[in-house]
Amino acid sequence: MSTVENVGTLPRLGRLGWAFLPVAVAAAVLALLPPIWFGDSPFTTSLAVQALVFASYGVGFNLIFGSTNQLFLCVGALAGVGGYGAGILANETSLPMLAGVVVGTLSAALVGGLLSWIAVRRSLGIIFTGIVTLVFSLGFANLLLGQRDLTGSETGLIVEGVPDRLGDDTVGGYYLFAGLLVAFLIIFRVLQLSHIGWAFRALRDDEVAAELAGVDVARYRIYAATVGSAMIGLTGALLAYSAGFISPATYSFDRVDVRVLVMVAFGGLGTLLGPLIGAGVFAIVDEQLTASLELREVLYGVFVIAIFLFFRRGVVQAIVSLYERVFGAGEPPKPPALQASRE
């Protein structure tokens, strides 16, 4: 948010322009990547699509955890609600893809909103929210395995009714997810700039003070969880169609949640472009480490530890402060905050 504060004196239009500049730059880079980088290699395209999917999950997670301190350890499960919702609907009925996507998104939004409502009503705190959502993730995974008739269990589910040009290794699929991500970024920034963003910052900085100042903490938490879960569910549903095949592993806790957590934390919790930067960096790491899944697991563990020990406000932020310290511009570095950057 530093852009907004720094240019507070500029005219209103300019201020808005500045606020959306990062989104525009990100959109331009994403639009130009296919022709200049991977052209028509299906392998690289599917890696890029994977990164975009994770960046999109990341924006949703960022809205829930980064903005309102609700530790949702069920990103994979929410995406799975969206994906399986869409996939089962597509296979059991002959409704078009759009209907599946809408149903999947709404189901995920409902589940996420409900989880948040429960957490808020029982005033669970960050840890118990984490445990309850983790328990939900594991329960959901078991449900997928148990309901063999509907979900195909471990063998997975082939999702029919997919337009060819939207496949996850085609340029069409790439632009579908790039467009989705840019839309999420715009929503994220609009929320940040609106009164909702002020409420988010207030409740994240000091919940009690925010409540005393008249911010309805419970309501804004549920808002954030519902919108964030809808984003995650929509991404999961589109992924189901685009990949044409889903299995419990597509949405499992260790495949999705841990990666999303690492990526978002790497890029900077609560920041606009954090998820995108994190997903981009980890796409490259993944590409280098395709040979050994175990080593990748070790590396992810090391990253989690290193990030939360040394770069709590994100690696990007750390580089920016280093730059500022070396070149003497800007404010002195602030003490690290574990929860979300307050910039």
Binding site: F128, G146, E297, I305
Partner: protein, 283 residues
């Protein structure tokens, strides 16, 4: 029916130990150790390697327990140091994230080096009849070990000066410091005790079936469920919850089905948090 309940009790005692190992560390250090299941697996792999080298089962088991205790204490001395500088929720959250990272590192290294690693301790002998139900000798050994571990723990906390010191730190860290107890030393010891319990769980589990290198995450989950249902921080609660959930698990797996069983156990944890957050016996 009787056989199912007895099986449940055997499982429940192992669950109880798992839960105690988790709950002790939370009660004392405010950390939910998500690497706990991986420490169990680490002990199992160490024991299986030593046994492959021709060491006697008993000696290998003892060394495995010590290795697990050492790894756990090492976690406390290195990774957990920055965690203790935080307080309250901040501390628990940082501990949760760092131990999650540690879990991935341990699991990754173990599956990378020993992809087929597994521990199975076969106990020879004819089944022994308990209230009319023939029980495998391995299961009885496992239960006996769990019970002994439980009694030793209770005596440790109830009757030794150091054990009382530990309880005083749980109740009031500053007060304990004032009467000359060093909380950070106590924490290291409790991490080691929790690691040793993980080793005992590894041995007990591998007596009724092979414990594979991939079991870590599931074990952590069970430990977490048991600790939450028993009341985070309550040792007796964790034992009680472990035994209860073990019996529920066996009954439900026998009469309903395995997938539903896991969901029932998870729901038990979720409902505990929602209805009675301090658990069965929590303060």
């Amino acid at each position: 029916m009787r056989a199912v309940i007895l099986d449940g009790l055997v499982l429940g005692l192992a669950f109880g130990l798992l839960g105690v190992g988790m709950t002790l560390v939370y009660g004392l250090a405010g950390v939910i150790n998500l690497a706990y299941g991986q420490i169990v697996v680490f002990a199992a792999i160490v024991i299986s390697l030593l046994m492959e080298d021709g060491m006697s089962t008993l000696l290998a088991a003892v060394l495995g327990v010590l290795a697990a205790a050492g790894l756990s204490a090492l976690l406390d001395l290195t990774l957990m140091r920055p965690v203790y500088r935080e307080h309250g929720e901040e501390r628990t959250l940082l501990g949760l994230l760092l131990t999650l990272g540690a879990a991935f590192v341990i699991a990754g290294v173990l599956t990378w080096r020993y992809p087929d690693g597994a521990l199975y301790i076969f106990v020879d002998g004819d089944p022994i009849s308990v209230i009319g139900v023939p029980m495998a000798v391995g299961s009885l050994w496992a239960s006996a070990m769990a019970l002994v571990a439980a009694v030793v723990l209770l005596l440790f906390f109830g009757a030794t000066t150091f054990g009382r010191g530990v309880r005083s730190v749980i109740q009031d860290e500053i007060g304990a410091r004032l009467v000359g107890i060093n909380p950070s030393f106590v924490r290291t010891v409790i991490f080691a005790v929790s690691g040793a319990l993980a080793g005992v769980v590894a041995i007990a589990q591998s007596m009724s079936g092979p414990l594979t290198v991939n079991a870590g995450f599931e074990l952590t989950t069970f430990a977490l469920i048991v600790a939450v249902v028993g009341g985070l921080g309550s040792v007796a609660g964790a034992f009680l919850a472990g035994v209860l959930l073990g019996v529920v698990n066996a009954l439900s797996a026998h009469y309903i089905g395995q997938y539903i069983t896991t969901i029932i156990l998870l729901s038990a944890a979720a409902l505990t948090i929602l209805i009675r957050p301090r658990g069965l016996l929590g303060r």
